[in-house]
């Protein structure tokens, strides 16, 4: 079973990716600060296929050791899904500097550093897949999300150049750009807002986390062997 690391795997998109990869016979190494009930339940259902690695991804200086430990414990790493991130909103002119720094640290610096060390295992094996979770906000813009957008746009630039860098070693690097998702909207938007956003999409609905998970499993599969350096948008056509 090929090993795949997923960051932010305790809920939402990360958890959905973990469940889809287990279904497709991968071994999942789920990284999150704390285990949720949902992740614990998924582990109970597939104790040989999902492992929980508690870790605070903002601790940049410990990422090298984390990568070493995971390599030593599980063997070669085939896949890395850089999913963890925060979506702090704020008008830039009044946003606390600490919030700006935290966004950049978690959404940008941390995935780049983790990739630096995990890609070494892939280089030694001459094979690997990296998927960076970006966002349609990277290209569309949204009021109150300028810093978040900057971090998500950076993941696309990172994806394209790293794909060039490691392609000849048999490593594919892609990004997935989800739109507004069904589940993530429920907490912060009312029905009218949901319907307005869904009404703007080509398919007149919202994508959900399972749709994003299927895009990721495709990019990890052999079917995507000739796809690298690209962005797969999953937004039910809201940016079409």
């Amino acid at each position: 079973m090929a090993n795949v690391i997923i960051t932010g795997a305790s809920r939402g998109i990360g958890l959905a990716i973990a469940q889809a990869l287990v279904r497709d016979d991968y071994t999942v190494i789920a990284i999150a600060r704390q285990e949720t009930e949902e992740l614990a339940a998924a582990r109970q259902q597939a104790p040989e296929s999902i492992y929980f690695a508690p870790f605070d991804l903002s601790e940049i200086d410990k990422l090298h050791e984390l990568a070493r430990e995971l390599r030593a414990r599980f063997g070669p790493i085939y896949g890395l899904i850089n999913n963890a991130g925060i979506g702090t909103e704020g008008i830039l002119a009044t946003m606390p500097e600490s919030n700006i720094e935290k966004l950049i640290r978690l959404n940008m610096l941390s995935p780049i550093m983790l990739t630096k060390y995990v890609v070494r295992s892939m280089m030694n094996e001459g094979a690997g897949r990296i998927v960076n979770i970006s966002s349609i906000i990277a290209s569309t813009g949204y009021q109150g999300l300028s810093v978040y957008a900057a971090t998500k746009a950076s993941m696309i630039g990172f994806t394209k150049s790293l794909a060039r860098e490691v392609g000849r070693l048999g490593i594919n690097v892609n990004a997935v750009a989800p739109g507004f998702l069904e589940t993530e909207l429920t907490g912060s938007m009312n029905d009218a807002q949901r319907q307005r956003i869904a009404g703007r999409s080509a398919l007149q609905r919202l994508a959900n986390v399972e749709d994003v998970a299927e895009a990721v499993t495709f990019l990890l599969s052999d079917k995507a062997r000739n796809i690298t350096g690209t962005v797969l948008t999953v937004d039910a056509g809201s940016t079409a």
Partner: protein, 81 residues
Amino acid sequence: MSTRSKIIQAIEEIAAAQKKTLAPLTDDLALTNSGLDSLCFALLVARLEDETGRDPFSESDEVSFPVTLGELIALYEHEHA
């Protein structure tokens, strides 16, 4: 196997795998003239970390990439001390 032998063997195997022609591997060989490119050196660092558990370039911000093969070997031998 000594650290020196591990490094030389790794360089030869990486050069073969990446279809690079190596210059004679003497201590005073400038790495830029070795026949390996920057990705090959990244591969070398990754492989040596796997084999030795050491990565002298990440352990300190003060370590810059060595100029000659002899300096590269010394860096890893020093880490072993």
